[in-house]
């Protein structure tokens, strides 16, 4: 229930942000797919030349909930060496695992909160699934960059600062056509940057039609 409220709050906030005129020094990045539809869950990362790494080594524990046989959030960005907790909000058990090179782990059948959070010490994309529920897929993006952002449901990201030209943008999306392990690279120039707005197009795969054995299995549940 708390998490629901939290999500509602976040979404309300995001909506407010979207409709609010950009404050001075902010940059709006809009990410769309090849059909010009807003693309949520896209990750953008970049490096500013004059940025100063704030050496805050504050270890923060992140959370990916399992709600209605899905990972919430779908995509989570964490810095290196972050702990992530996998609480189970469903009344059924889950068997969360990952075979990703960045982090291979397995949380065998459990309910409620697992004993300890999982440490993600390597940068990279960690694809998570549930051995019991094949349809459950979630992603943890372990980032090394300071500037790493996730697009909201409108495919929008509002950056807190102006984005200088020639900045290299690396964009990742779980359904990207180029593959799960690759980034789409953009160089910020006058062509794509207009009035502090940048629109990025990412080609994605259509979600697979659920007419196979998988879908049958889902309908059964």
């Amino acid at each position: 229930m708390d998490s629901l409220k939290f999500i509602l709050f976040i979404s309300l906030l995001l909506r407010l942000l979207t409709f609010m005129p950009l404050a001075f020094g902010q940059t709006l990045i809009k990410i769309v797919d090849q059909n010009n539809a807003p693309l949520p869950d896209a990750v953008i990362e970049y490096t500013l030349e004059n940025s100063i790494l704030n050496g805050t080594n504050v270890k923060r524990t992140y959370i990916i909930d399992q709600l209605n046989k899905s990972f919430v959030p779908h995509v989570l960005i964490v810095p290196e060496n972050s702990f992530v907790n996998f609480p189970n909000s469903d009344d059924i058990r889950h068997h969360v695992y990952s075979f990703s090179p960045a982090k291979t782990f397995e949380l065998k059948l459990y309910a409620g909160k697992p004993k300890s959070p999982v440490l993600f010490e390597h940068a990279g994309v960690v694809v998570m699934g549930c051995n019991i529920h094949d349809s459950m897929v979630g992603y943890i993006y372990v980032s090394t960059k300071e500037n790493t952002y996730l697009s909201d449901n409108n495919g929008s990201i509002i950056l807190p600062h102006d984005l200088p030209l020639t900045t290299q943008l690396r964009v990742w999306h779980p359904n990207s056509k180029i593959g799960l392990s690759k980034h789409t690279l953009f160089s910020v120039d006058s062509l794509i940057k207009k009035n502090n707005e940048i629109t990025l197009i990412i080609s994605v795969n259509e979600p697979a039609p659920r007419s196979t054995f998988e879908s049958l299995a889902i309908h059964e549940h």
């Binding site: 695992y97 075979f99 051995n131 349809s135 779980p174 799960l180 054995f213």
Partner: protein, 775 residues
Amino acid sequence: MNTRLSFKAQITWLLTGLILITVIFLTASNWFRFAAYAEKQIERQMYFAQNVLEQTLSSQEQVLITTAGVLASDFGFKQAVATQDKKTVASVLLNHGKRINADLMLILDLEGKLSTTSSLHSFDTNTIEENINKLPFREIHAQTLSINNKVFQVIVVPVKAPRIIAYTVIGFEFDHAALLQLKELTALEVTLIQNNQIIASSFERSKINEQLLVSTPKKSPNLLLTHADYFHKTINFGSYNKVKATLSVSLSDIKNDFNQLIFSILIIAVIVIIIAITFSSLLSKSLSTPLNILMEVTKKIGRGELNVPILANRLPTEFSELYQGFSVMGAAIENREQAIIYQAERDLLTGLYNRLKALTEIKNHFKDQKNLVLITFNIKGFEVLNDTIGVNNGDVILKEIAARISVYVEKLNRTLHEKVITARSNSNEFLIAISIKKTDEMKHLIELLQSELNRSFWIDDIKINLSLYFGVANSIEHGKEPERLLRRSTMAIASAYQEQVLLRFYKDGEDEAYLYKLQLIEELKIALESNESPLFMNYQPKLNISTGKVDKLEALIRWINKNGDFVNPELFVSLAEKAGLIVSLTRWVILNVIQQIQRWNKLGYQFKVSINLSAQDIQNEEFVEYLLTAVKKHQVAPTQITLELTERDIADNEELVIARLSHLKSLGFAISVDDYGIGQSSLAKLKSLPVDELKIDKTFILSLEKCQKDQDIVSSTISLGHKLGLSVVAEGVENKESLLLLKEFQCDYAQGYYLSRPLTAEKLIEWYKTYESPL
């Protein structure tokens, strides 16, 4: 004997033929029906087989998909794949492949590169990648696929962990065993073909080639004729276009069924034919046996054995009646035959043999080397008697004669015990032949017969005495040839007539003279018709006593027969008269004489020629016409021709002759009376005859100079002729004295050897040129 078929054979052939035709039609009809039926069966079988095949493939696919899906979802499997521990993965593939009996287990990465393989088949990496990459990926699905001439049912399963990290390809080969299973389901042989090459087949390996290389038979009645053991149909196999499946229906069962059907029809036909042959032989036997009996009977009757034996066998009613009919017929024929024989052999009036039978009997008698006397007799003037007393009474007399002959024969038989042949050989001529050993027996026999016959005959109260002329010949002296002997005895009757004796024995030579005459008549016929005639004309001059010149000739016919003998003209002319040849002969003479006169006229010799005619000539309807035509044709004046007739010729049918002669005379022909003075010389006739000339017969002239009476007759006849206005000719002048006497008597013409013999035309002219009148 007969080239045509016997009755039995005909029946047999008819029945057998009918049966065979029925069998042929039945077989043909069955053939077509069976072929159509078989086609339908095959079509249905094919249709079901195709459906079953498709259904089987798709359900098998579903099962395999499910199985493969479960396999790919196995966490351990996913883990092994995700960790890319190749050895582990390979062992997992092997293990899981065995679980589901897969023939092909592959792992491909997301780019389609082969990462791990576990297969019973050792394909190299390239071959697999090349073939597998033709498949669409992404989702789980099944498909048929051929790799290196092996056909697989292939399931492509993505391995999700949870995103797709690899693809597992699981293949099940359609090998011989798999196709055998399909065969079990479809009941057809299944063969997989790619690019016209056989990949796998449910056929035994040894059979494959021969069966499938035979061209696929078309649908038709030929289905039953084809040598192929299978009917093939090629269809798509699964969803993969390259591989075709050929379904093969075995035709051997259908053929066997059909052959059995035909075989049973043939067996039935053979049985029926045997029954038919038996039946026909029974039927024909029951017909031919009586027919043979009847045939024998008719043959017997044909041979003249008219006694039909009593029927021995029992026959069907119709044949028995027919047999009875033949029996009756035989009897009737026998009766009629006897009647005919009687009529043929007998004289119906008297019951004696006829001439023919008598001759046969005589001939038979001679066969036994026995001799006969042949007594024939004739009733004188029987025709006249018939006219007088009537034919019926005449017949009574003939019967009486026959009766007396029978009495005579009975008397003879009492003493002689020899056979006597009696016959009525002609209308009024009877024949009695009696066996003799010596000629002196004859007299007694004849006398006995004469005494029997010479008694008076009585008709009612009228007494009639008959004059019977007997002619006798015997085989001892006159030969054993029946015809000739009979002729000789009847010839003796003719001689008896002539000689006015009642009994006459045949004399040697009479028959030969008769035959000579017959021969002459035959020769004369030929002579008249042939171009190179042996007949020729002679001419005897007549001297005109008053002028001393020869201006008349008499034409006389001459004949030298084929033996070179001179035939007496009087003989052959009289024969010609009797044989009816005289008209032809006279025509021949007329034509020759007229032609000769024409030739002489052209040469400047003017003769009057006289031609001798007979009574038959002058009475002939066409005589005048012929004479006129000949005269006109050869441009000879009628006045140059004199026609000579004797008084006797004129006396026969006098009125007609006088009319004819008057006519001829009016046309200019001269008429002469020949041989005047020796016949019935009637002055009354002479008065009324249209005559120009009188010829005094030579009997008065030949010795005229010696006989005063002849001189008186001749001189008075001449003066009589002159008084009647006739010219008088004397013939037979043989010396000068007679000629001088005739001159003295004022005779007009003289003819005779003193002047000249009759000469041929050429010699006459020679004679004429040198002739000097003796007067």
